[in-house]
């Protein structure tokens, strides 16, 4: 995004984390774990990589971002507000009656959202369709799709993986939030999705692995994506669910639960001390 290139992206990510905690605490429900694990990815995309304009959300040349793991929308809401798509005060209306910030994304209510998601496994197909449509029109826009690792249990993801490779969609970049946890526990125990890298390679994708909390790493991988031709790219971002808040860190129990007042205070103190790194 123009104008943010010089801003310290780690400090942007820290602000987004604080907003996530405030929003979910105010809502009294929501999904902090998977929102905190995607914070650096979302920051890199919205504040450095994607071509977009908060003053003109429908700008034709914009890159498209699809949040397939729709429950992690607090992270994206916070990023959109920070970019200026809507006033930051709106963040505290999350999940409340009449809010523009629904519990799961509604593209017609939230400026900047490209699709309504929340039923898992569907985002990669949407992103594939967008990438196909752009290719048909010989447009240069890029399409990014952020998926959860638990979400990879869904068969539709692999249907889409084949479609995107079949059509050689090198304008499509999938990102997997590989935090290793889902509601019922470790992804390994619920249903083993490994070997993940080999799977995506076998499906015909260009695969990269990064530390999903290292913005430099993420930017390097996204840079390589834009120089990849004739196949889609997937970045497996190794992350920690609940990253940045010590008591949420790597705890499946914080998938879909709001912190109470005391816990909120503790989380915000930790984050303001900057110990999230």
């Amino acid at each position: 995004m123009p104008g943010n290139s010089d801003r310290d992206l780690d400090s942007v990510a820290n602000v987004i984390r604080q907003d996530i905690i405030k929003m979910i605490a105010s809502a009294g429900s929501g999904h902090p774990g998977g929102s905190l694990s995607i914070t650096e990815i979302v920051t890199a995309l919205y504040f450095k990589v994607m071509h977009h304009d908060p003053a003109n959300p429908q700008m034709e040349e914009r890159d498209r971002f699809i949040l397939s793991k729709g429950h992690a929308c607090p992270a994206v809401y916070a990023a959109l507000a920070e970019c200026g798509y809507f006033p930051k005060e709106e963040l505290l209306t999350l999940r409340k009656m009449g809010s523009i910030l629904q519990g799961h994304p509604d593209m017609h209510k939230t400026p900047g959202f490209e699709a309504s998601t929340g039923s898992l496994g569907q985002g990669l197909s949407i992103a594939t369709g967008i990438a196909l449509g752009l290719k048909m029109d010989t447009k240069k826009n890029k399409v990014y799709c952020l998926m959860g690792d638990g979400e990879l249990d869904e068969g539709q993801i692999w249907e889409a993986a084949m479609t995107a490779a079949h059509y050689k969609l090198d304008n499509l970049c999938g990102i997997i939030d590989r935090n290793g946890l889902q509601i019922d526990g470790c992804t390994h125990d619920v249903k083993n999705i490994e070997p993940l890298t080999e799977k995506w390679k076998a499906f015909g994708w260009n695969v990269m692995e990064v530390d999903g909390h290292n913005i430099c790493d993420i930017l390097t991988a996204l840079g390589r994506f834009s120089h990849t031709h004739y196949r889609p790219t997937v970045i497996i971002a190794h992350t920690v669910k609940g990253k940045g808040v010590s008591y949420m860190d790597n705890e499946a129990g914080w998938h879909g639960k709001a912190p109470d007042n005391e816990q909120t205070e503790e989380a915000l103190q930790e984050l303001t001390r900057g110990c999230c790194k």
Binding site: D106, A115, S125, T128, I130, L132, G133, E159
Partner: protein, 328 residues
């Protein structure tokens, strides 16, 4: 009665054409008219007559393989780039397999995706129950923002396909496999949301959609020989249903029979009953599939066995007229 330019459907040997041909030819017309119409297929290209579009516009035909859920999501994405995608596959897979994708990804966001839902009804024949879509109307008409069209013959299927593209928002067009009588002509009016009275009558209204419109017209002709005057309403739009025409007809005749090639539970008959019970309650009998799965057989054997012939409509008329008499 206004001249609807209907075909000579009462002839002993009416012209017969599958409604799926209307879908295929409608897509070709759309392809010529609009650059942004694209057709998606899931390995059933000639069966759904989408090969007609493929031959003329190969660059706008997208194969997703046998992956209906992905096809629906891809269509959603295409619509977000300004395309008008037609998802094409058999009704059981189109509306059933991908129901959540239709509901949450397409309809919730009011995306401009069209669904060509083929092999509707029991007249699919020998493929048997797995491939006979008998619940598709029920499960799509309950989805907000959705429009559901069930054309009665070739011409209406073609017009419904074109009209679907020319309105904004998700639309399901249901069509069938078998050759069925052509009852309308290229000049017969068709408008989404508008039911048409194909035959005027005073004793009973037979309201039908799809290929049951023909059976209703044959039933009405036969009933007339027994002194019963039956009105026939073709309600090709099941949603949004034409409440005004349906209610007005019921006010005139005070008895209604519905006819559909679909489960009566939740289907077209239910939609008509929802209108009448709230606006102008009259006795209603429903002809359709009675909470059963289909089976293999020839289309005519199955239509007979499951009570979907003109004579079954006549029997229902006689029953509803008894109910009407009792209420007097």
């Amino acid at each position: 009665m206004k001249d609807l330019k209907l075909a000579d459907y009462l002839s002993d040997n009416p012209e017969k054409v599958p409604t799926r041909y209307g879908y295929g030819d409608g897509l070709v017309l759309l392809g010529e008219k609009y650059d942004n119409v694209v057709v998606l297929g899931a390995d059933l290209t000639s069966s759904l007559c989408t090969d007609r579009f493929l031959k003329k516009f190969p660059e706008r035909f997208l194969q997703t393989g046998i992956a209906e859920q992905d096809m629906t999501g891809v269509a959603a994405g295409l619509s977000l780039t300004g395309k008008i995608p037609f998802v094409s596959t058999y009704g059981v897979f189109c509306t059933g397999r991908a129901w959540d994708q239709i509901r949450t990804t397409v309809a919730y966001a009011r995306l401009n995706v069209k669904f060509g839902s083929g092999h509707g009804g029991i007249s699919v024949g020998p493929d048997g129950a797995t491939h006979q879509a008998l619940e598709d109307i029920a499960i799509t008409r309950t989805i907000p923002n959705m429009t559901v069209l069930v054309p009665s013959d070739y011409h209406e299927a073609l017009k419904a396909t074109v009209a679907a593209a020319e309105m904004q928002g998700p639309v399901v067009v249901r069509f069938g496999r078998e050759k069925v009588p052509v009852i309308t002509s290229a000049e017969t009016p068709f408008e989404i949301g508008k039911a048409e009275i194909y035959r005027e009558g005073t004793d009973v209204s037979i309201m039908a959609c799809g290929i049951m419109v023909y059976e209703a017209l044959i039933a009405a002709q036969s009933l007339s020989l027994h002194g019963i005057s039956a009105e026939v309403v073709n309600s090709a739009t099941v949603k949004p249903i034409d409440s005004a025409t349906i209610t007005a007809s019921a006010k005139r005749t005070k008895a209604v029979v519905t006819a559909e090639e679909h489960q009566v539970m939740g289907g077209f008959g239910s939609a008509v009953s929802e209108v009448l019970s709230q606006n102008y309650p009259v006795p209603v009998k429903m002809v359709g599939i009675q909470d059963q799965f289909g089976q293999s057989g020839s289309p005519s054997e199955l239509m007979e066995a499951y009570g979907l012939k003109a004579k079954d409509i006549e029997a229902a008329v006689k029953e509803v007229l008894k109910l009407k008499a009792r209420e007097r």
